[in-house]
Symmetry: C2
Subunit: 276 residues, 2 copies
Amino acid sequence: MHTVSENKCFGGMQGVYTHHSEATGCEMTFGLFLPEEAAQGPVPLLWYLSGLTCTHENAMVKAGAQKWAAEHGIALCFPDTSPRGAHVANDDAYDLGQGAGFYVNATQEPWAPHFRMWDYIADELPRIVTAAFDIDEDRQSITGHSMGGHGALTLAMLLPGRFRSVSAFAPIAQPSQSDWGRKQLTAYLGADENNWLDHDATHLMTRVGFDGEVLIDQGSDDQFLDLLRPEALAAAMAARRQPGVFRMQAGYDHSYFFVSTFMPDHIAFNAEALWR
Amino acid sequence: MHTVSENKCFGGMQGVYTHHSEATGCEMTFGLFLPEEAAQGPVPLLWYLSGLTCTHENAMVKAGAQKWAAEHGIALCFPDTSPRGAHVANDDAYDLGQGAGFYVNATQEPWAPHFRMWDYIADELPRIVTAAFDIDEDRQSITGHSMGGHGALTLAMLLPGRFRSVSAFAPIAQPSQSDWGRKQLTAYLGADENNWLDHDATHLMTRVGFDGEVLIDQGSDDQFLDLLRPEALAAAMAARRQPGVFRMQAGYDHSYFFVSTFMPDHIAFNAEALWR
């Protein structure tokens, strides 16, 4: 693992690191914020998965999350959203290929060799982070924005016991029924829609749910409402009697101005579960 | 004035606007955050001047300032750092020309026609902002980072009565004695160092001081300490008995991780003066 940068921040340290990934077969970059308390012993960890076009950097510099993580004494991990590099398949569209991994293990060409973001986030990166830093691996939660909210919800529901809580900002809530999903799931997983079901948060909410609390924030003026399909997830949560809260925030859009506004609530929500 | 974007944020609105500037003879862009309270009547305004290479955008997306401005019910204005455009003089160096206006009115060629950032910030933009938005022009304060800290301090000291308070994050504190300053003041104002004195915060602190409270934060691990010369400003503040606080923050560097860490304090400090 190589240290790209470390900056003191809210009494803790915001680091950026690179490492070779077995899962994705390329060099990967992630950000990790450690609160001051990490110097005294293991701290809980909140994962933040980013959206389309993002790298590890967007939320790390724009979401204002470190302040609240420092207050609650928890670490934050900001992974990249896909494999990267000249030898990695790509597409001219912003929503396919590099920057658009969708947190799945691709089975189709040309994506299958590198686009294994599910394994990377579910298995490899947690091992690397918990080995290298003083993280309490029994205390993990996960959140994310847009495509990252999709990733957070699907990982949380399919890895029961791993995460104490899950939250999402404007998640892609029903990709199997949306143009933010059908295109990518076809490309990465093939045309058989049965193979998509484990990567559809609304389907998973109906089929398995989450064994903890869920918090969803969605802006009512989000320019991508038709692609996100929050109403499907809200209905599935209510039908299941899923413990948690779905909030429609009047006037907010899809930007990081929305994310940063509700970041204090999401960190507090997850920290409450992490410290319970 | 043209609206580039408006995003709801912490109950208020983060806007980005462009306008033709008489002072700089080009199109200028600025960011303005209005708290929720602006819908009910005039609100105080805190100016944030950015550093080398920055545009209106850096602090607007990376400093986490809107949260605290919303809590204190004050507006924030994020101007650009120089004139811009293909017809505007420039230099290959990151620290001269576009992105490096140093908040002076250039008298030398090729800079004189457009590089009039003093007039833009001191006169033109305040008129535009207070005319277009519900701002209480009797309640203004100013802050900034690095080159923007230099601008905030020099404007505050040379415009007595304009600003109720001034603060700075790692300001260029003595440009007349630093490689961040001598080069630019020579280029913009000419070789006669007497013409630089109004643009040297340490000199102004000795000569006139500020008619209010001053807050300065400086990271002890700032990679540019030799260029910033904080010790000169600290000495001048102490020698003058200037009301205010100079804080050396252990372990922090020059980045926005440092700025965002102490932003809550700077907003609270200026808001206290704005609401007094």
